[in-house]
Each structure stands twice: as C-alpha cells, then as structure tokens.
C-alpha cells in the first residue's frame, strides 16, 4: 500500500485499465473493503463493456467508398491541378460576391450606418476571424493594456472590455478592424468547448442610442444596440435567445463604466 488516499479518479482509472500495478492493487484492496462503492463501479464497468459490444460492430463494417482516403486525396489533387478551374471559380466568386454584396447592401443597411449596419459588420468579422486558427486576435488577453491603449487612440474613447466569465466565456483578445464608418474594436471570447463569440463596437453617427435588436444570418445570430454614441454588437454560432443574457450582461457592464 502506498498510503495515498483512494480518489474517485483512481476508481474510474481502475475500470478504464489506466492504473499501474501498484495503484491497481491499492484500489482492489479498497474495493474489497467497500462493497457499496465496488458495486457502483462494477455497474460502470458493465456499462463500459456494453457500450463496446454495441459499437464495435460499426468499426467492423467495411469502410464505405466515399471514405476511402485514396479517393479523397485524389479528388483533392485533381481539384488542385486544375488552375483554370480555380481561375473560373475565382471569377464566379468575384461576380457573385459583387452581386451578392450589392444585394445585401439594401438588406443590411436599410438605415445607413445604424445598428443594422453594425450587426452586419460584426457578422462579417465573425466569419473572417472566428474561424481563424492561426491568429484570430492580434493582441491576446495577456496584453489587454496595449489593446485598450490602441483602441483609445484609434477610436477616440476608452473601450470597455466586458467580462463574460459568468457565462463561461473567456476573453481571447482583440484587434482594431476596419468598418465603413471608421475603426472599430473587435473582441473575441471562447468557452471550454471552443465556441467563439465576437463583439464589435464602434462610434455611431446614426442610431446613437438604440434599443437592443436581434439579428440572424445563416447560422450566426447576434444582438446589437447603441448607447451614448457607441454601438455594440455581439454575435455567435448559436440561437439569439442563448446570446441574449450575454448581450444584457455586456450592456450592463458598459453602462456601469460609462
């Protein structure tokens, strides 16, 4: 016996076969002396075996043709080698982007530069930066003093960096981004499940004070509002009702420091 107390973690590791011989002997001895714990973990062990019995047949099935790695690699390489096809695709995208962008011009900005426009800008920033695995933010959360100084200089007022830890989101960092109405501050948050949220704020000329409104575009929803000449928009890959408490929380924190 090593004398170290047996933890719940040890008991799980015991049924998962992750203990070394000495610790396993300790746990065995403990379980012999504690039949109730032993029976609970014996059930866990049974379920573990049942799960494997239920799912192992899937791994024994022949792999479908469409998941054949050789085919998938070949498809990618042939797609790559066709420069002309890429060029054509680029032209189509350019035209579609132009036409689509012009189309959205009317949809997203019915009130010029107001909170509707801000919502669209926040979603654009979400689309560009939230999926970025290399450098989603320019300045990380260990460098917030610099971000605040940068934003103050570029936007002309000191930004509030809302704390969303109550909802399980950490500030990853941020950057200054361009909007059609001047520099804006983008902040990014994430949670334990790597879900990212983007908050964009910028000075407002139109809609200097505007109540909170929800927006949705594809799989991204968000809330936007303006107070005291600053506009705020929080967007994320979840339904607007899930984002609502976060938006309220941000508004509270902004008002408190205004």
């Amino acid at each position: 016996m090593s004398g170290k107390p047996i933890t719940e973690d040890d008991l799980h590791a015991y049924i998962d076969g992750l203990l070394d011989d000495i610790r396993r002997a300790d746990v065995s001895a403990y379980l012999e002396a504690h039949p109730e714990v032993a029976s609970r973990f014996a059930r866990y062990g049974d379920h573990r075996a049942d799960m494997r019995a239920a799912l192992d047949p899937v791994a024994d099935e022949p792999v479908p043709t469409r998941l054949n790695l050789t085919h998938l690699m070949a498809a990618r390489q042939s797609g790559r080698s066709s420069v002309w096809r890429s060029a054509a695709a680029a032209i189509i995208l350019l035209v579609a982007g132009g036409a689509g962008g012009w189309g959205l011009h009317g949809v997203l900005q019915p009130r010029g530069e107001g909170v509707d426009a801000l919502a669209g800008e926040a979603m654009d920033n979400f689309a560009t930066f939230a999926s970025d695995t290399v450098r989603p933010v320019e300045l990380r959360s260990d460098n917030m003093a610099e971000l605040v100084a940068w934003a103050t200089q570029r936007i002309g007022r000191k930004p509030v960096l809302p704390d969303l830890s109550k909802s399980g989101y950490r500030l990853m960092g941020g950057r200054i981004v361009s909007t059609p109405y001047g520099a804006g501050l983008m902040l990014m948050y994430d949670n334990d499940r790597s879900t990212r949220l983007v908050m964009l704020s910028r000075p407002m000329k139109a809609d200097r004070n505007q109540t909170m409104t929800s927006y949705s575009q594809g799989n991204v929803d968000g809330w936007s509002w303006a107070t005291g000449g600053m506009g705020y928009s929080i967007v994320g890959p979840m339904p607007a009702n899930e984002l609502h408490p976060l938006a309220d929380d941000i508004r509270r924190q902004v008002m408190a420091r205004a």
């Binding site: 049942d50 998941l67 890959p237």
Partner: protein, 175 residues
C-alpha cells in the same frame, strides 16, 4: 503525404464508430467523417499537434458538435422511411440487440459534453490526457464529466420507466 495513410487510414473505422455513437444516424455520421477527412487532408502539413489521433478526433468532434447544434436548432430532417432504418445505429438482429439499443439510447440522453467524454474513454480507449486534448478542456473537467456521465447513465439504465426527451426535436417531414 504517405505518412497520412499510415496515421489516418487505420483510424477511419474508429472515427465512424465515434460519429455514429454521437449522431446515431449512419448516413449523417459518415457525412461527418467525410467532412473530417477532407479537413485532415487539407491541413495535414499545418497540424501542430504531435499526436495525430487526438488531432483527427478533435476535428471530427468539432464538426460533430456544430452539426448537433444545428440539428438542435432546426430539428433533424428525416423522411419517414429513413427513420425506420438509418436513424438507428444498430439494427437488433441478435438476442441481445435490445440491450445494445438500450445503452445507445441511454448515451443519447446524456448531455453531449458528457457523452463525448464517456465514449472517448470507454469505447475509443483514450487516456484522460488524450481526451482533454481532443476536447480542449482541462483533465480535471474530463474527470468530473466522466464521473457525472457514468452516474447518469447508471440512473437512466436502472430507471428506464422514466422517459426523458432526447435533446433536439426531430422534425418529421412527410413526403
């Protein structure tokens, strides 16, 4: 690019198993595995993770979670004849078929974050540190989710009379 065959090809059966367990829909699960493999091929040279297995599983997991979230928002679209066959991970053809379906249904009733930990540990035989890497969470969180998952699963299986709604409504579209 040959190393991708050596590392990734042997994982494909396990990737299908994990996706099937999470989605319990064979076609949708293979769609996710295909999506995952395409991303793996595209980003193979840029991976920063030394362990290809946890890297590939983390890609599959992220693809699966965003799919589940969309499904939760919209309701899964299943036509009636799909429901009978494809929606079930396992068609009971043996005596113990029902038992197997029970345990899969029970896993389906767990919150997604508990179910994924339980499956990676129990079925994919990952160490707790590997699971932490796949899910990008601390090992302590892995342990607490594992503990809650196992206890919850036991309660579901021991009190089967209490029906619990599956997360995510299934919208049925009648042809």
């Amino acid at each position: 690019m040959n190393d991708i065959f050596q590392s990734v090809e042997p994982m494909i059966p396990a990737l299908r198993r994990y996706a099937r367990a999470l989605l319990r829909d064979a076609t949708a699960a293979d769609d996710l595995v295909q999506d995952c493999l395409e991303r793996v091929i595209a980003h193979w040279h840029r991976r920063r993770n030394n362990d290809p297995r946890t890297w590939v599983f983390s890609i599959l997991h992220n693809v699966a979670v965003s799919h589940l979230r969309q499904r939760q928002r919209r309701g899964a679209h299943l036509s009636v004849d799909e429901i009978g066959q494809e929606a079930f991970a396992y068609r009971p053809t043996q005596e113990d078929g029902l038992l197997r379906q029970d345990i899969l249904d029970a896993i389906g009733q767990l919150p997604e974050e508990q179910g994924s930990v339980l499956l990676l540990v129990s079925v994919e035989d990952m160490s707790y540190a590997q699971v932490a890497e796949v899910l990008a969470i601390p090992v302590g969180t892995v342990m607490s989710r594992l503990s809650r998952a196992r206890e919850r699963l036991r309660q579901i299986l021991e009190h089967p009379a209490r029906p619990i709604a599956r997360p995510g409504t299934q919208l049925r579209r009648i042809k």
